[in-house]
């Protein structure tokens, strides 16, 4: 490209009068002005806080000052804190509850609703609609489903003369209750990702299969599923990254209780840094979360890069 535009300068000197600096693709400082505004905010609000956070995690810090250097003290305290270890376990447990459900139900819905009928379009709209609601509304809805007496669940159980399981107060069910609300909230995205993958499968493969009298199960197993394998992995990783960040649902539905059994890492950070004002330890906990999410993000990068190579 550059050659084509620099050539006239040597061939026809007259042209260079109109355009003095003709090599338009040479690096120039003034071009930097276009990215400078964003880089200013990016640096001051993301890069600096990221480094500052790492630095804080080695200090005994409170709201306004960064206090004394304590080395790995915060991290050592963190890994001796039963509540923190519980919150790491809770987060993994929550991811284990929600991610397979989201991926499988999302895939199921996409397979059923991947057709051009009006009903399918309406149902796609319905299943995605919960995704646009805020966490506050979602938790309000699900608390009113789970609440005793006037709750939807206890009303339905009441018709059969039974008592509904206490999804919010029972220690063994509380996290499952949060997971149900989360799957209800987040199911739209996996479904849409699977739908767009299904639409990219060339139709003639299916026509060929139909000519061979392949059964629906055979078509699904040997054409559809292999074609969307990468999307499946992608959906799983995206959901792991998202669900690792659980906070609002747990905070609003159970406040992390009973007995910290539904307290995820982000809620631990919130409690430590912004309610007990132990900013150093909160920062240390957020570094641990950062590393966990970074591992998942790396995996996502590798998957998407391989995807790009293939097409």
């Amino acid at each position: 490209m550059a050659d084509r535009l620099t050539m006239p300068q040597t061939a026809m000197p007259a042209a260079s009068v109109r355009a003095p600096s003709v090599d338009i693709y040479a690096p120039q400082w003034r071009n930097f002005m276009f990215v400078a505004p964003f880089l200013f905010f990016f640096t001051t609000l993301l890069v600096v806080p990221l480094l500052w956070g790492m630095w804080l995690s080695f200090h005994k810090a409170d709201t306004f000052s960064s206090g004394n250097f304590v080395g790995f003290g915060n991290y050592i305290r963190l890994f001796h804190d039963k509540v923190f270890l519980q919150s790491v376990w809770n987060t993994f447990y929550f991811v284990l509850l929600t991610v397979p459900a989201l991926a499988l139900i999302g895939l199921f819905l996409a397979l059923c609703l991947n057709r051009r009928t009006r009903t399918a379009a309406v149902l796609r709209t319905l299943f995605f609609s919960s995704s646009v609601l805020s966490v506050t509304i979602v938790t309000l809805i699900w608390r009113i489903v789970f609440i005793p007496n006037v709750g939807l669940l206890s009303t339905i159980y009441g018709w059969f003369g039974a008592t509904a399981p206490a999804f919010i107060s029972d220690p063994s069910l509380a996290m499952i209750g949060i997971a149900i609300a989360t799957v209800w909230w987040c199911i739209g995205l996996p479904m849409m990702l699977f739908l767009s993958a299904l639409q990219q499968i060339p139709q003639d493969i299916y026509e060929a299969a139909a000519l061979d009298n392949a059964s629906r199960w055979q078509t699904l197993r040997s054409i559809t599923l292999p074609s969307i394998k990468r999307t499946f992995i992608l959906v799983v990783i995206v959901q792991i990254v998202l669900q690792f960040q659980l906070f609002g649902q747990a905070w609003l539905m159970t406040r992390g209780g009973p007995n910290n059994l539904t307290k995820p890492i982000v809620l631990y950070i919130y409690d430590t840094a912004f309610r007990r004002w132990d900013l150093g330890m909160g920062a240390a906990a957020s570094e641990v979360l950062f590393i966990l999410i970074l591992i998942a993000a790396m995996a996502q990068y590798l998957v998407t890069r391989n995807n790009a190579d293939r097409t």
Partner: protein, 282 residues
């Protein structure tokens, strides 16, 4: 000729099972919302006496009138509009400029800077939350609109999206303009920007929706009641959930807060779905 007939019958049966499952799932999606709407239309005393009364008249709009009359919900909606609108506008401006810069122009260190910006995609909000809060305390930014807007401006997703979009526009367009000696900014503003409207819509809706629904940062930054955004304000009224005298009122508030965004979703469905799925895959 018998075998195909059987397989068609099998197909019909399988279809019915799948249909039943999908219907069951859509009931699970709808029932909680309908329940909330039902409760919002009932007197509290009646609900306490018999929850099944949801299914019988009389219904009342009293809870909605109370919501509009007594709660701070309008201030919170106003705050949310300012914050989400400001963040959306800022993101569109910054991302378009930077996207053009990264896609079309050359400057020292461009490639390294772009990789650094891409790395920003992998940094979750929670990793910078504590330090950001401390910095904002020092600057006295908490409980202000700019305190709520600024953190979102550092997100790299918009720059990434706009860079991809500018790269997809044929280079011949700006080369022609450049031979006419138009300035870089003129080319950006007059020639290329009008072509990016679909990407602007996608990014705008995605940013607005994300800001509107954000909960964590407003929760720790806006601690004064009249600076609450809608999500934080609604959450703050949920605390008196246990005294269930206000269940109908709370439900009316939820419907009041949720309905507008659902209506907007129904109108702009296509853009919203593209925006959200595009953001996830990056």
């Amino acid at each position: 000729m018998r075998a195909p007939a059987i397989s068609i019958k099998g197909r019909a049966f399988g279809d019915r099972v799948l249909l039943a499952l999908v219907i069951l799932l859509s009931i699970v999606m709808l029932a909680p919302v309908l329940w909330v709407i039902g409760l919002s239309l009932k007197e509290n005393a009646e609900l306490m006496a018999n929850p099944n009364s949801v299914f019988q008249a009389p219904y009342t709009l009293k809870n909605y009138i109370n919501t509009i009359g007594t709660s701070s919900v309008f201030i919170w909606v106003f705050n949310s509009i300012i914050v989400s609108g400001g963040l959306t506008l800022g993101t569109l401006i910054l991302s378009s400029l930077a996207g053009y810069g990264f896609a079309r122009l050359n400057f020292p260190g461009r490639n390294i800077l772009f990789v650094v910006v891409l790395f920003g995609l992998a940094v979750p909000e929670q990793a910078v939350l504590v330090a950001r809060h401390q910095i904002f305390s020092l600057l006295n930014f908490h409980n202000t609109y700019h305190g709520l807007i600024l953190p979102g401006l550092s997100a790299s997703f918009g720059v990434f999206l706009m860079t991809q979009y500018f790269k997809a526009i044929p280079k011949e367009l700006d080369e022609a303009a450049m031979l006419d000696n138009a300035s870089r900014f003129r080319i950006f503003w007059k020639v290329l920007l009008p072509l990016t409207v679909p990407a602007q819509a996608t990014l705008g809706i995605f940013t607005f929706l994300g800001a509107w629904n954000d909960y964590l940062w407003p929760l720790i930054s806006a601690t004064k009641k009249d600076m609450y955004t809608l999500t934080v304000g609604m959450a703050s009224t949920q605390t008196n959930f246990a005294q269930s005298e206000g269940i109908g009122f709370l439900m009316a508030q939820a419907v009041f807060a949720g309905a507008p965004i659902l209506i907007v979703y129904l109108f702009f469905q296509k853009y919203i779905v593209t925006a959200v799925s595009g953001a996830a895959v990056r």
